[in-house]
Amino acid sequence: MVNNEYILSMENITKVYSNGFVANKNVNFSVKKGEIHALVGENGAGKSTLMKILFGHEQPEEGKIFYKGEEIHIANPLAALDYGIGMVHQHFMLVPSLTVAENMVLGMEPKKGVLFDYKTAVERTREISEKYNLLVDPEAKVEDLPVGFKQKVEILKVLFRGVEVLILDEPTAVLTPQETKELFTELLNLKKNGYTVIFISHKLNEIKEICDRLTVLRNGKVTGIADVSDITEQEISNKMVGRNVMLNIEKEKAKPGSSVLQVKHLSYTDMHGKQVVKDISFSVRKGEILGVAGVEGNGQREISEMITGLLSGQTGEILVDGKALSGASIRDIRLSGVAHISEDRMTYGSVGDASIEENMISERYYKKEFNRNGLLDFKRIKECVNQLIQNYGIKCDNKDAQVRTLSGGNIQKVVVAREFSSNPKVIIANQPTRGIDVGASEFIRKKLVSLRDEGVGVLLISADLTEVIETSDSIIVMNNGEIAAYFEDASKVDETILGEYMLGLKRQSKEEAGGAYYAE
């Protein structure tokens, strides 16, 4: 099927990762020449995979790609560039200590004799930057530029290489509102010049503002293709967050006790000077699961790492059982009863090159019960670890298996087994089920609920709305570093409502959102 209306179409794309995860299933995605096309979906919906395929980072199991009416095969990113498809990554592909002009011409440097012709590089950069009205100083060093300008350099770099289709991966995530505005003018300008833009985003107002058409992905499948003018934000949101599966978590109504974790006026500014957490207050009560819903990158990671001590430099107060944690070491924080499931399970949660046993004792090895005569009591440790392996159903040969040889779900179970069995008063669970199989996910959620029943407070941070709603007792919604909403009773909300708050369509009043904090 060749349709000349479309400059680019991807047909029946299916991508299965080696761990069996189906990231794209029969996805059809077409873009018209000269449009700004939005690709929307929740975290993990398959947008990135689809774009990786288009840019040659991944190869699909099935499906065809047509470009300008001809079928093409994209072996790697360089081939994609040759065809005229370029991508601006969220993490910039720039060399910080080089100037803008040097970055621009890297790999295709103009020369004068044996020397690099910097003057020509600067001139060409100036030309192209003026031509597309993306004004940057060609002689400025990239490391000195604000993020918005770095992004301009990235866009220019791609244009400089003769690209006609531009993929922008969540370009506004790192930008201030003013920078975003500027970017939009530039994109509209590009569109006027005949360029095609694929715009990946979560932010519905932005899509409404500049996009012509959109494709919605959910769970690796296309759930909607429409002209932006024909669809309301409400409808987009519904297509994005519709219920995926019934999780069927049986639980009784929570009987929350006193606050075990209190966060007061917490703020954090990152190294780029962007305030990522803005004056947040909330409490987790004993015997309650407080869910934190939100698109990733809205301050959740920072909150969890500030509570657990991995990140410091915040303002505000964090109290566990009424005691302030300021200045406490990570071990002190853990000793006060905080357990932590990090969202980054291979960087923080585990050591791939060590055994299950070694991974499981990392926060308790020094305790009296595991030491005898000055040495580690491996008999005790073995008993403890084997018990945990059994209780958590970890599939492995034995306790000495290297963690990196396990499946993702089993690695996460190792982490969870350690953290849940540390006698916690409060558990910070950040994306505890991301990227793991259904069985392990269900197991972990049920464990959380049973710990709650024993009186543990749980802070459940997740980008998976269904998980948040089904597992939590109360919910806060994060948007842009702030609490956009607090729902005391999680059973009274659904994905649509949460979606509106987390995508920034709605916002509760200060008083309503402030309900998340309990003084007692």
Partner: protein
């Protein structure tokens, strides 16, 4: 699961292949230099086993290597490429010499104090690069190599100006007091009581690294410092601590070597025991359990090279060539990688077939 076993087997095979390649290249050199290459190579390979004295030589040479092998294993386990065990060994020997010459102490206590003094000197030498790393982020490779030279000249300063025996006719210290000397264990050889201390250090080193909570922390930090931090371990303190312990062991080795093998301090240059320790630690995969065979192997080729050098024109330095070739091939991750990959694929296919049935 299969693949893990293959990887383990692969590691051993790669080591053996490295040894074979090194010996082959060495043989090439021997052919080039010697008129009777087969006889010479025979002397090299079998000579060490021919007399009790030579067997004793192997053990004598093994003793200091056990110390430095354990020392480097401890220091490298937390992913610190600290080369100062060389300087630590040297300065440890100097400290022991100073105590052995200067103080009058009873038997038993005297060598003990010498060895402890040597240990502290070694800890100081290896601790400085660690402080630089922990406080300032200076990678220990370069700073520790600089420390080696400082230790050398500091040591020579003490030997040549504080405890020099002007009557000796060559630069060396006064004779060690009898009370400080470590006695020989067997007649016909110079195998001395230091062997017992070395074996003790070997066992303690193993317990420290693999059975104690400190060793556990050290190994976890070496494998993933982020995980260690997340779990609440004191990363900087542990790094510093284990460099000090490693340095202490190196210094002890220097002391024991002096008291066991020499009557006075005679080194005028670094002895290379620390660098040998690096090779041993790499071969034993930083596990003191395997330090003994690795050290014996190195001592064996040393003694073999010595015999070869005396009976032919092949200089003893051929050992360093062998050593270098072994390290470089063991370090080369992708060497034989294709073979390993094929084995793993074959194994997983087999597994699938079995499951399929």
């Amino acid at each position: 699961m299969q693949s893990r076993k293959i990887e383990q087997r692969f590691r051993i095979i790669r080591m053996l292949v490295a040894v074979v390649i090194a010996l082959t290249i060495a043989f090439g050199f021997v052919c080039f230099v010697s008129k009777t290459p087969f006889e010479t190579m025979g002397n090299f390979l079998f000579g060490p086993f021919l007399t009790v004295r030579r067997l004793g030589n192997i053990v004598e040479m093994t003793i200091p290597l056990l110390f430095t092998g354990v020392s480097v294993s401890i220091m490298y386990s937390c992913n610190q490429i600290n080369m100062a065990s060389e300087g630590g060994f040297f300065l440890g020997g100097v400290a022991a010499a100073y105590i052995a010459v200067t103080f009058a102490l009873p038997y038993g206590i005297h060598p003990l104090l010498c060895i402890i003094g040597g240990g502290f000197a070694g800890a100081l030498v290896c601790g400085i690069p660690a402080v630089l790393y922990v406080k300032k982020g200076v990678l220990p490779v370069v700073s520790s190599l600089m420390m080696n030279y400082v230790s050398l000249y500091l040591g020579l300063l003490i030997i040549n100006y504080v405890i020099r025996d002007a009557q000796a006719g060559y630069p060396c210290s006064y004779q060690y007091r009898d009370t400080a000397i470590l006695p020989d264990l067997f007649s016909k050889t110079n195998v001395h009581a230091g062997l017992l201390i070395a074996v003790m250090v070997l066992i303690l080193g193993y317990l420290y690294l693999y059975k104690s909570q400190w060793g556990y922390c050290i190994r976890m930090i070496g494998k993933n410092p982020n995980f260690a931090k997340y779990s609440g371990m004191n990363v900087a303190g542990t790094i510093l601590g284990c460099q000090l312990v490693g340095g202490f062991v190196a210094g002890m080795g220097g002391a024991v070597e002096q008291l066991g093998m020499y009557g006075r301090f005679q080194y005028q240059a670094l002895s290379n025991h620390g660098f040998d320790g690096v090779l041993i630690a790499i071969l034993s995969h930083y596990n003191p359990k395997f330090v003994a065979p690795a050290a014996l192997f190195l001592a064996y080729i040393r003694v073999g090279a010595d015999i070869m050098a005396r009976s032919s024109d092949v200089p003893v330095e051929i050992v360093y060539i062998i050593q270098a070739i072994i390290i470089i091939f063991v370090a080369a991750e992708r060497f034989l990688e294709g073979w390993k990959h094929r084995e793993i694929v074959k194994a997983s296919r087999l597994e699938l077939e079995i499951k399929g049935e």
